[in-house]
């Protein structure tokens, strides 16, 4: 699914990355705890989060996450937007809550970047 389709499905606003709306995204990870993201998310996924601080952007950058969707209409600081622009991470912003955001995207074919936290050889998670 293209980033532009994710924008359309969630009535989202593009905050950073108008030039990257053509990138293809097939998986996602949703969390507000960045240690969980660092532990379990995989490169190339969409990060769905209610955390709108520079640390969310830096977490995405560390893992080569494709884009961030800020849900629940969280307010965005200029520091957050500046960091995303600097590190080249596209930011979408929606007023849908996380459950609705995830559900609508899953329905259209996006899947979790991992299914469960067990049964997976741990170090493969960031590969």
């Amino acid at each position: 699914m293209k980033l532009s389709e994710i924008r359309d499905l969630l009535d989202a606003r593009v905050i950073v990355g108008e030039d990257k709306l053509d990138i293809e995204i097939t998986t996602a990870f949703g969390a507000d705890l960045m240690s969980d993201v660092l532990s379990f998310a995989r490169s190339g996924c969409l990060l769905i989060t209610g955390l709108s601080n520079p640390q969310a952007v830096r977490t995405a950058y560390a893992l080569d996450i494709a884009a961030i969707l800020v849900c629940r209409g969280k307010s965005l600081t200029s520091k957050f937007i500046e960091t995303a622009s600097e590190l080249g991470i596209p930011i979408l912003w929606t007023k849908f809550i996380m459950f609705e955001s995830c559900g609508r995207l899953y329905q259209e074919g996006l899947t979790g970047c991992i299914r469960k936290t067990d049964g997976i050889e741990e170090k493969t998670l960031v590969r």
Binding site: L33, M34, S35, S39, Q55, T59, V126
Partner: protein, 154 residues
């Protein structure tokens, strides 16, 4: 007789030292910036992206720990022919019970750390999980020393 265990000479130490990053305790605004800088400095050197991601995660959690608990600290990054090494040293309260600190979910974090999206007692576990070699020692009342080795062979 050659031994791979011999300590690095000063010359070798300087040769493999890629960067030294100073971190101020309680400087929450820029938390994570060292991880981003470390990642940038590893790119374009022929190191696999998957290895760089692991180093970035380890550095991120180590940086958050220094900011959260120590007065100040440093992260040193070394690139050796077969591994990337991250060393984090801080001046701070130290860790009285390392086994307890390594228990997933154990945390002494306050709200300012949790607001950043951390402080759930996962940081040290994440560092250990993404390291090939993990060493953690502490002198209570003085500080904590962390060494993490990520082998290039994975």
């Amino acid at each position: 007789m050659e031994s791979r265990k011999k300590p690095l000479s000063d010359e070798d130490f300087i040769k493999s030292l890629e960067g030294v990053y100073h971190i101020q305790g309680r400087d929450f605004v820029d938390a994570g910036i060292v991880s981003s800088e470390v990642k940038k400095s590893l790119q374009g050197k022929g190191i696999p992206e998957s290895i760089i991601r692991r180093v970035a995660v380890i550095t991120f959690e180590a940086e958050i720990n220094i900011i959260s608990y120590a007065q100040q600290g440093t992260i040193q990054l070394f690139i050796e022919p077969d591994a990337v090494i991250i060393e984090a040293n801080d001046i701070g309260p130290g860790i009285a019970d390392i086994d307890l600190a390594l228990q997933e979910g154990y945390s002494t974090a306050d709200d300012s750390i949790r607001e950043l999206g951390f402080g759930a007692g996962m940081g040290l576990n994440n560092i250990k999980k993404f390291s090939d070699v993990f060493e953690l020692t502490s002198d209570v009342g003085q500080g904590t020393h962390l060494k993490s080795i990520v082998k290039l062979s994975g």
